[in-house]
Symmetry: D2
């Protein structure tokens, strides 16, 4: 099958190129970039220096089977007709088609130009809703921080530990790749190295996504820390009723033991006792774990993903695999590395 990547010079675009190029069933037909048209893909993404492919202009789309759009927010909604004309299956990695209703776009974004498509688009976080994806032709891959949070909390809903009106604080730590390839003073190495920086103290847009798909209002705060890839969500949960470790293990095993991309890590010995971005860097795995704090009637849930993989490009490939009927793990088998520096 042929696949293209639109917006291929950005970070998620480059990751999609890597994944499509290594995918057993996809062939990378086009990688578009207005800024770098006619330069090699490896000029921008040095890990792909050995790949013999040049960027093309985004308005010269060839006909393919799957098109991945890795463009900034607002671009896909204005180009969706062209994307759909070029491909049977369109997977969008921006926020343009994630939320289910126009009102949410009015509240959290700057409105929506094609609200009639919102009902048609399928949100893709396979662990949550893979049943919606086979045959879908317009797919919105879930956002990185929302994915980490939803994967952490989903078993609590499935096991009725949470019903949606509980108090939950989500304190997220993210790497610099979430800011994109653009640069700017705040993301310069000298200013960004070694930070613990309140990046979105309140009002992060992924709150809307969590509200939409878990039915839960979370108190959400995002910090920038010193890594490039990775997102770690710590959910401080206050259930109405006490819950035991056994209950939790049942809930998490019940939700995830068949999942190909979710690993549980909750205590035990050694250095890596809980989920960590380092442990999943470079892979499509999410790690989820928990700890009880009975004195404070609190449950602490940890989840960690590589934001470039499970939080964007890997999730998009996963969704496409389901949509077109391939094995879910096709092209996503690689594990992470140990040891690795800042992911």
């Amino acid at each position: 099958m042929k696949a293209s990547v639109v917006g291929a010079s950005g970070f998620t675009g480059g990751e999609l190129c890597r994944l499509v190029d290594g995918h057993p069933e996809f062939e990378l037909a086009q990688a578009t970039s207005r800024e770098y048209a006619n330069r090699t893909v490896g000029h921008v993404h040095p890990n792909l220096r050995h790949v013999d492919l040049r960027f093309t202009e985004p308005d010269e789309l060839e006909r393919v089977d799957v098109l991945f759009a890795a463009t900034p927010h607002g671009v896909s909604m204005n180009n969706v007709d062209a994307f759909r004309a070029a491909a049977d299956t369109v997977v969008d990695l921006s926020a343009d088609f994630r939320l289910s209703n126009e009102a949410a776009y009015d509240e959290w974004y700057d409105g929506h130009d094609r609200p009639e498509l919102l009902a048609e688009a399928e949100y893709a976080l396979p662990e949550l809703n893979r049943e919606n994806l086979p045959g879908a032709d317009l797919i919105a891959a879930g956002g990185c921080n929302a994915t980490a949070t939803i994967l952490g909390l989903l078993p609590l809903f499935e096991a009725d530990v949470l019903s949606g009106d509980e108090q939950v604080v989500v304190d997220v730590k993210v790497g610099s790749s979430e800011g994109g390839a653009g640069g700017g003073r705040a993301s310069s190495h000298a200013e960004r190295s070694g930070v613990v920086r309140p990046y979105a103290p309140t009002g992060h847009r992924h709150e809307a996504e969590i509200q939409d798909f878990l039915g839960l209002d979370v108190s959400f705060t995002v910090h920038a820390v010193d890594m490039v890839r990775g997102a770690a969500a710590t959910c401080h949960v206050f259930p109405d009723e006490p819950v035991s470790k056994g209950d939790l293990w049942s809930a998490y095993r019940g939700s995830y033991e068949e999942e190909p991309f979710v690993r549980l890590a909750a205590g035990g010995g050694g250095v890596y006792r809980y989920p960590e971005p380092k442990a999943v860097a470079g892979s499509n795995f999410a790690e989820v774990g928990f700890e009880l704090d009975p004195a404070n009637r609190r449950l602490v849930v940890f989840s960690a993903i590589d934001n470039m993989m499970k939080g964007s490009a890997g999730q998009a490939i996963h969704a496409a695999n389901i949509a077109v009927g391939l094995a879910e793990t096709a092209g996503l088998e690689s594990t992470g590395f140990h040891p690795v520096g800042a992911p």
Copy 2:
């Protein structure tokens, strides 16, 4: 005045040596280390290679005016008589004399060998209780994570925004120097670089200190992140009554505008809009700031310190200055650096 540092080969011990050596009123009389006795101080602390002083055995204490004890938990309580025999003023940086009652040591530590001294010792977090310190002869410098948290929340108590029964989640991010100089596989560079690691998911002992001095039970979680010095506490606070930005500015200015070591940073433009460890690294400053989240009836408080300074050695010098009647800022005037890498 003469001052000594016991336990001088550790990280806080080395920082005390640096501060005492540069202090306008103190002379560094002794730096003790059993392991490195007779080696130069600069052998262990390369920043002090130019200092002409060798470590001495810890049981050969000279008579001095002020003795700083930077020994592991449990050592000071067993050596306190020797320390007090050697110095008029003893400032202990361990947890041995911080809590006010023996029961808390039974609950959070392994009990206490000298409980009769607990009432006599003065806890030192000058912004909280400087009035107790003049003339004090046994001082327990506040712990790093507790200091960051208490400084963040104190104005809310002083302005009656909090009374002590509210729900507060404290999510702390710390550097590797908090683990001390010992090493071990978990703190090796290859395993520790780039982490977001749940270091104390629940049950961190500084909860006891916060309970003792703020009268507040907090849900406390500590993460290790990729920096060496620094502690950043994010307090997710749910006040009973709505509070405005104006109220908050009044509260924080009221508490801190005369404080020599507290800076407010809450919004505004630029790269550094909120407290950050990078901004205070190498200095005794704490930064405190906040943001409102009306949709979640939440108040988010950020505070950042250099754990080696305001969180230990700097705080100890500050307390000693007050105890012996010097200017509070003596020896602590240095600011931090910009730019700086991982602090």
Copy 3:
């Protein structure tokens, strides 16, 4: 084919487990570790938490096709008979069988216990001597810093730019994984972060390997810098005769254009103009490039590898593939990542 990893709890051992587990033709039969026997492989290597395998004792070796020995220097020479009894093909990653003669072991190491095997063992740096490897049953994978250096300089010998008596300074920068999983104060995160540390100012043992296989005495210095994986060699070369850029491109293309794991990067635009460890992290690629300095009659050659891959485990798999007749790239197809933090 069945493969085992001896010394599997170390860093290179873990990397071998990852590669064997993902290899299309190998099945991971055993991973041995005295310290962690009966624990899961994922207990030590968190990237492999999903792998259902436990460490076994090193003296209970099953019969396999290929055995990889990732043990410290001196262990393989004492266990080589057991290794060879257990496997048709033994690939040793230590220095025990790299050098060609006993005298070199006397000079650079602490002698050799099985010198009669040195002639029998094949050194493996496939770009240099792949013709020796088919059917080899005792293989010594080339060392990381030697590999980076030899790959940088080899085309200059093959094109007669160098003959072996020229002056060459090799200034290498390495990550912390080269120090192994052991830890110790010098490799603790607090002491090792952000360093530029003369790690082997002179007398590094890989000088012997370069001398042995290039016939060149190099002035060799190794610095530790802040990354975990990666080795970058900068070779300052003073050829006897002037050389042009065209000559150099011919030489490097001639040596490497058919090589599956060598990429050339020499100038051009963009951010990544020369070889960089970041560009190859996680992959078996080596990058090689150069720049001319006519004013100083100097040629500067840059080469970069992931020391855990092309510098050890990847090179070992590559050699085993050739030895047993598989495709050279089997199990080594993965590219690196972009962006990535400290590799």
Copy 4:
């Protein structure tokens, strides 16, 4: 005395503000910035948030005693008359007045607009030529990489180990602050973290400065590594005659034992055996050390500085202190820190 900083929103400008603000004899009169005029100094330099000073326009210079110019190359030569009209002593931190003759500016830069001033300006690297500085009214502070190199090699000239025609390779490793505050894709955190990047493979302009002041042609290569502050020069020296360790200790002690800002570190035990940027970060110290490599007839010299201090702002203050007759160490007494992350 009053002092101003022109170009105060850049990195070296901010460091000058910090140093002047903390200087016992200087008062910070003005800090100029066209971009940030009327904003507080702390808006850009968060370490100075407590300082009550706002940036002013650069064309409204008040009359002061000392003016520090931290402007980009080419600015000072065009504004030098205004600077000298505003201050008795002008210390320029750019390259505009460092070299001694116009021809060198034609060769290494884009020529010079005020060549008649080159003879009048004094180059300032006090360990090399402090005798020229008392009373100087136009001073060019030495460049960072040149300073590190010259300090490493100077004793070899003073002790006649080198005469100027020997082969010397200088391999320098620098932090991201050398690139300035501007940003750009190559210096973004995601692209710059964890690098070992050939930054100036050949032809770095500081070669000219070393040639001018040591009379030595060096083969000079600069690598970017993962730190923010710091420059480490490794000089691979091939003396004509063999030299002993004793000779070297005599040479280096002879040159530097009276120097307030140079420390020797050459072997010995412990973690920090040689010069390291980490050991001097935040201070005006340079560390210098060496190792012999008799097999290669080589001498390896290591030197390390904080490029923001000894490599620019600290050196400028040092020079100003000498020029106006203050104690050399005034305002520069602070040591570095231990431990510290990436400096």
